[in-house]
Amino acid sequence: MKYDPEQEPYVALRTKALESLLIEKGLLSAEAVDERISEYERDIGPLKGAKVVARAWIDPAFKARLLASGAAIAELGLPGGGNLVVVENTPTHHHMVVCTLCSCYPWTVLGLPPTWYKSFAYRSRAVREPRAVLREFGLELDEAVAVHVWDSSAEMRYMVLPERPAGTEGLTEEELAALVTRDAMIGVARVAAPAPSGAAAG
């Protein structure tokens, strides 16, 4: 999985060869390729997911609809909810997402996956020793907490609704969304409370 710069020239060449042949044959258009690549450059990563989480934190009725069906993200104007399932982390239940067979990922809400998510190490270990993996991510779970690993073996996509951290009562929806990380929505991290200024409570 590691990036090996020495291999690059040949692969880059071969990619260029493939693409140019497809364009020459009229199977793809150069414009479509360029447009697609510029879409990646505009990738906003997990921002959409963070908006979903923030809304669920402040709107219990939306949260209920969201947990019943990921399609509820359409209420926020977001596409891709048709095959989305949102699972909620609580003090007693922790959820995390993996794809052992390839690297399925809820990209419509989280953007492109990080390399670690696609790594052989994560794919092989997350289902067998999730607590050990979480520990490497700095997340130590109490033995009393149940761990649920969602192995994405079909076209359904899973996103974790992390716990709302204490000390965020006064925050706006936008401020809440800014706290939410990609890793928290994969289920390998908690959302940290806002740093100094927020008063701890609840």
Binding site: Y3, L21, K25, R36, R125, M156
Partner: protein, 222 residues
């Protein structure tokens, strides 16, 4: 197939290594591979299941040595060649040309592309019967070892679980990957206890959820 891609439960791959401030792509060609793949799939040159199978059928040593987007490239090539849209010789010749003319931009004639390909899908079978299972039902996965594409990982074969969600009918990858049509059948989310999957090696209070098609499942004997 029982391939090296079926990584769930394997040892030997070390710790999960993370990269701080990871870029979206590590090289420009990766973005191009992704674009070519998604556009090709959009134009129905191959479907997602055939694409996944194209990765799985890589020689095991190649699969493990390749990076993520190298595997994508391998499968795009394989599928386009399989579909008769390209030959390996054409590709090799173009690589040789590009190597001999480092500065050259090969023809990138823009504009007119042929219309997207209508796959000659075999007729779909009649819409599936009522789902056989409902949430709460105890099931056992079949112990099968098909040579082709499947989405029932080895670690979860012959194991007991409980239906957690019924997702409704979905395209069946085991046929769809091999040009045999979508043949939709009910898809379920099945919950397995860690102890059922890993025996004494399980961590405490673990459950694994998998999305599994109806034909992967049998009713669990009482």
């Amino acid at each position: 197939m029982n391939g090296v891609h079926d990584l769930g439960g394997m040892h030997g791959f070390g710790p999960v290594e993370r990269e701080e401030h990871e870029p979206l792509f590590h090289a420009a060609w990766e973005a191009h591979v992704r674009a070519v793949m998604t556009l090709s799939m959009g134009r129905k040159y191959f479907n997602i299941d055939a694409f996944r199978y194209g990765i799985e059928r890589m020689a095991p040593a190649d699969y493990l040595r390749a990076t993520y987007f190298e595997r994508w490239l391998a499968s795009v090539e394989y599928n386009l060649i399989q579909q008769g849209l390209l030959t390996g010789d054409e590709l090799d010749a173009r690589v040789a040309f590009l190597r001999a003319h480092p500065g050259a931009d090969p023809p990138r004639a823009s504009g007119a592309t042929s219309p997207p390909r209508a796959q000659e899908a075999p007729p779909e079978p009649p819409s599936p019967a009522a789902p056989r299972f409902a949430p709460g039902d105890a099931v056992v996965t079949r112990n099968v070892h098909p040579v082709g594409h499947t989405r029932l990982p080895r670690y979860a074969r012959g194991k007991r679980g409980v239906i957690h969600l019924a997702h409704g009918p979905q395209t069946f990858p085991d046929t769809n990957a091999h040009g045999l049509g979508g043949q939709p059948q009910p898809l379920y989310n099945v919950r397995f206890e860690g102890r059922e999957l890993w025996g004494d090696s399980t961590e405490p209070r673990e459950a694994v959820h998998l999305d599994l098609w109806e034909s992967y499942l049998e009713s669990a004997p009482a």
